[in-house]
Symmetry: C2
Subunit: 270 residues, 2 copies
């Protein structure tokens, strides 16, 4: 029988959910059923969930409870109702921080993804507009304003990465798909030459590319394994020739591709 896991938050619960998943992944032979309860920002909603937990405890099927709730009274109530199975993120670290910093914490809810900041929002919207307009090589004249330009064959992960960089990092990321003509010529297209310092290449295992393209256009030349192998081979030769930093997207998440770009590659660019 799977173990029920409650994820409780006074905000989105995204962070609490990530922590719970990471911790529970250390127990691969157990089966967990996660239930997310975000926005528990008033006493009534909190009490309803606390009672649900209490009744599970009393029934002899106590759930695990992960909480990123900030409010002290709410946390005390949860502690009381959860039968010793509460993993309270604030309780775990706040006392230690108070001691080291020599000041008492003042509870502030909903700062896990710190927005409410209009300037930051506008910056992200602008970056998103840029990413959409400059997706898939559509408009190429504004590359001078790009923070980075991703290149690679079709479906190597450029578009989701550009959108992620805009949404989460406020970066203006353009992308240019290498097409057959570029790959046959084995030369970097002229319009990219002048922006070489901003280029990041994405590559992908040909078999995985084949699988992804099959979803898009099944049975086409575009999605054939042979075509995928040729494109990847040519593209990687081109990246080597021009010494463009390369990320292999085959087995990693969009979050990871984006983080590698911002923390490893872009730090060397500027």
């Amino acid at each position: 029988m799977s173990c029920r896991v409650f994820i409780l938050s006074d905000h989105t619960g995204i962070t609490a959910g990530s922590i719970a998943r990471a911790l529970l992944a250390q127990f691969p032979h157990q089966d967990f059923a996660l239930e997310e309860h975000p926005f528990l920002d008033d006493r009534k909603k909190l009490s309803a969930v606390a009672e649900q937990i209490e009744s599970l405890v009393q029934a002899g099927t106590p759930p695990l409870v992960f909480s990123s709730i900030v409010d002290g009274d709410s946390r005390a109530l949860l502690k009381e109702k959860s039968g010793g199975r509460l993993f309270d993120i604030f309780q775990a670290f706040t006392p230690g921080l108070e001691e080291l910093l020599g000041v008492a914490a003042s509870p502030v809810a909903g700062h896990l993804h710190g927005i409410g900041n209009a300037d930051l929002y506008i910056e992200r919207i602008r970056a998103l507009d840029y990413a959409i307009i400059h997706d898939d090589g559509g408009i190429t004249k504004n590359y001078a304003k790009a923070d980075t330009i991703l290149i690679g064959v079709s479906r190597s992960g450029k578009t989701p990465t550009c959108l992620y960089l805009a949404l989460h990092n406020g970066l203006q990321a353009a992308n240019y798909p290498l097409v057959d003509e570029d790959l046959e010529a084995a030369r970097l297209p002229a319009l990219l030459q002048e922006h070489r310092g901003k280029l990041v290449a994405l590559t992908i295992d040909a078999a995985q590319l084949h699988r992804i393209r099959q979803q898009r256009r099944p049975g086409s030349r575009y999605s054939s394994l042979e075509q995928c192998q040729w494109e990847v081979h040519q593209a990687e030769a081109l990246f080597r020739e021009y010494r463009i930093p390369v990320i292999d997207t085959t087995a990693i998440s969009i979050e990871e591709i984006a983080t590698r770009i911002t923390t490893e590659i872009m730090q060397d660019m500027y």
Copy 2:
């Protein structure tokens, strides 16, 4: 002088960074300088950062250290070098989980955003393609395949929310901008009528809308405060008339809008 804060991870560090920011927000009168060190997945990289921390400790300017590193040896080294200022996410919760579950944890790195899962990746890419094609009312014939359809005036937050829902939740989210004709008629456009059960409305404070539109087309009628006030007023009347669930995006983040849609509104839909 600001307090240096190291964020250490064997993967992206996104979760460790979120926790650190949330905890440090409880100390609003302190000044913190965050430094993110992701992908510390081999001993050499880890040792270099540990030595940097040790030299700061020895110089009498010890940093705070937040770590989501899974590997036990690495964590022990950090504990030794950080002068008692290490906040170790795995150490905080793993012993309690082991006790409750009655089994020992087996360290698994990089599962915080659990991908490497090709099916999930393909699902998200498909959702992203859908969101881009169905952005801004562009193509409206495939609304039957939408998981949700966001409506609202221009710049109320529809596009970033749709892209977020695709990237993070794999949901096919379309969006339709209410234009002057729709707002004057005060009627839901016919093509939306048959999908009323999937509609989610976004609204925004007119002054904030004015500010966002000014960034896009300064001094235009489109971005005037008067026009923004009229559009928001008309749109909100229409949402009430058709009893469409509404989210006010003025002061909340894209993450929060998306989470409200998936956890509150969509749960009632299906």
